[in-house]
Amino acid sequence: MISQHTDSTGTYASVHFKSRAHDKLNDAKVQRAMRNFNLAAARSRAVAEVDNFEDLRTAAAAIRDRSLADLDVWLERFEREATRRGTKVHWAETHDDINRIVIEIAKAASVRKVIKSKSMVSEESHLNAALEGAGMQVVETDLGEYIIQLAGETPSHIIAPAIHKTRDDVADLFHEHHKTPRKQSISELTMEARKFLREHFLSADMGISGSNFLIAETGSTFIVTNEGNGRMTTTMPRVHVAITGIEKVVPTLEDVSALMRVLARSATGQSISNYISVNTGPKQPGDADGPEEMHVIIVDAGRSQLIGSDMQEALRCIRCGACMNHCPVYQNIGGHAYGWVYPGPIGSVLTPNYIGLQNALDLPNAATLCNQCGVVCPVRIPLPDLMRKLREKQVDRGLRPKSERFALKMWAWAAARPGIYSLFTRIAARVGKSMGGSGGLIHKLPGGGAGWTQDRDMPAPGGKTFRELYANRPSKGGGGR
């Protein structure tokens, strides 16, 4: 299958992370957009306003752990409560199931036009393409999603999908697609999008949304947005379909309110998002508005494998984006380089788990392990530890390149033998010194070291190792010590 994440041979784009990242580093537009991107500053201001944010993170992690510990129980409870209130609950084991179920619902309700508010899970299954293939028109209504839909691209960030686009890019796109005079200011562009979207809101037959949380005790979906498009999508069309992962269920409304204390602060630096929509069943007699049908599709697609594994903590994720906002790698290459749905640190953990370790070999390795992500994650996911575990799995399954395995073996063998190690390092110190010449800088390293000297010099060693100098140091009265 060809999709935005695979090529004609079915190879995942994430396989080509390295070259994709290289291209992004040399793409002036992306670089300009990424330079302006700074949600990290907003977060730190918002966090400073609460005096116990670290406690809130701990509480949020505990709530997520509690949900995951008895996931089956909460999911069944959700299904019971939602069904009781007239929602139809569907279970999608695979990505194909998602698309099949949505198309069945749409056909049964004679749907021609679909509007969507943000749903990352639908990106996993390429739902838009599937719906279009089934003859329906699909319109994204989140402004960022709308922009990239016009551009024919995928989101480069989980909450700011068009962050890789500059204002100029957007002005060009709107001019081209709306056939209107080219606008200059952000407010004019936004007004124009609103005008075009409004017609779609009024004429759509089906609204598809994600759901940030599923509330087990009430059978409700819970949607957080800043543009109000989520509310329109879930209430205006005749049919509402919410698609979300199995891990999104939490026991109570109270739990969600605790998670909300960390979500918006971590994501955009807001104390709370502009809109929160809690949807519990279709329109009831006496309700002013609401859809005639409400469906919730609960998706596994690889998630249940993580339960009980050493990767389970990744399922705590509440998709705030803070880890990518704080990631030095993401900030420099943007989200598209990662090649699949979720970029940044959480993407580097989820992608290999969801599409296969061998299909994303670079991702867990493309990190400095600086832990700028781990210390901001509102649910305390130890992202660097999880990436390291994935690296171990690659080694265990023999997925690392031969040259790398050989180099590691050599190093490990020598480092365990001080005599031999000392000989090697003495030689290296001398060779390095002579390579550095009078300036003390090596401009070109051979072999694996070439990656270093491509854009950097290597300060040369001094010529002798500490251990040899120490062994020969003049006695200071106190003896050899």
């Binding site: 390291r388 270093w452 001094g462």
Partner: protein, 276 residues
């Protein structure tokens, strides 16, 4: 842990000056008994021995008896972060044995001390035989500046420096070892030195061990942001506590044509900067 052992032991009355400051620390009775193992780290050993000697000088000037186990090589971090657990475990056990006789292990690196303190417990978790030795090791391992400030409570440093410096917080030192205030406190004691903070001193320099060669272009680009921040301060030198960051920042600065901003390890500055 030495803390418990020490309280039972009556302290001799401290006298004056440097000795006084050391003896006031509630750890061991008399000075010669404070045996400090210096773990120089593989990068310092190979690339910048003078940092090891600076650390040695600082510890000795503080009155510690310093032991430098001659068989030491590497803490195992390159293997650990490359997913080669077995290699990392073998080296961790080696460190465990080499420093078992010391009261403290001091490391002029946040990254290698962090490896020992924050990661050895997980790395050696499957082997209960090592448990007691492991607890001893993690309890007594310190990053150099942390040790100088919080254990020996150094109040005077040998070095002097004329000019402005800016301090880069290395990721592991900061986020695994809690090293933030310590180097700044010590730098404040260096006559002639002025500290000017950069905008984001806690921001990663892009080194990341083998990441720096596997993804050299991304790594260098991250380093570039750091270099811009450093240049923005107009400081004469950037000072830091980890050799990995040091090579990375210096390498990128020089390639960008900056030949004047010095890149110095905090131990060198505290002990007094010497050339090789």
């Amino acid at each position: 842990m030495s803390l418990e052992r020490s309280v039972e032991r009556p302290l001799r009355q401290p006298r004056t000056g440097r000795l006084r400051s050391i003896m006031l620390t509630p750890y061991r009775g008399t000075l010669p008994e404070m045996k400090v193992g210096l773990f120089v780290t593989c990068l310092v050993d190979l690339m910048r021995p003078r940092i090891g000697f600076a650390a040695l000088e600082l510890l000795e000037s503080a009155g510690c008896e310093v032991i430098v186990p001659g068989t030491q090589t590497c803490c195992g971090q390159p293997g650990y972060n490359s997913g080669d657990r077995a290699a990392a475990q073998a080296l961790a056990r080696k460190v465990l044995r080499e420093f078992d006789a010391c009261d403290y292990v001091v490391v002029p690196s946040g990254s290698c001390s962090g490896m020992i303190k924050a990661h050895y417990p997980e790395l050696l978790a499957d082997d209960p035989a090592d448990k007691a030795a492991l607890d001893r090791l993690t309890g007594k391992t310190y990053e150099l500046t942390d040790f100088l400030v919080n254990v020996v409570k150094l109040d005077k440093v040998p070095g002097r420096f004329s000019g402005t410096v800016t301090y880069h917080d290395s990721c592991s030192g900061l986020r695994e070892m809690g090293v933030k205030r310590q180097p700044r406190e010590l730098l404040a004691k260096v006559p002639g030195l002025q500290l000017k903070e950069m905008t984001t001193p806690e921001y990663c320099c892009g080194f990341g061990g083998t990441f720096s060669v596997k993804f050299g272009d991304i790594s260098a680009r991250i380093a570039e942001r750091k270099c811009e921040d450093i240049a923005g301060t107009g400081a004469d030198a950037v000072v830091l506590g980890d050799l990995g960051c040091m090579l990375n920042i210096q390498g990128r600065l020089r390639r960008l044509g900056n030949t004047t901003t010095r890149v110095l390890h905090v131990a060198e500055v505290l002990a007094g900067v010497k050339d090789d």
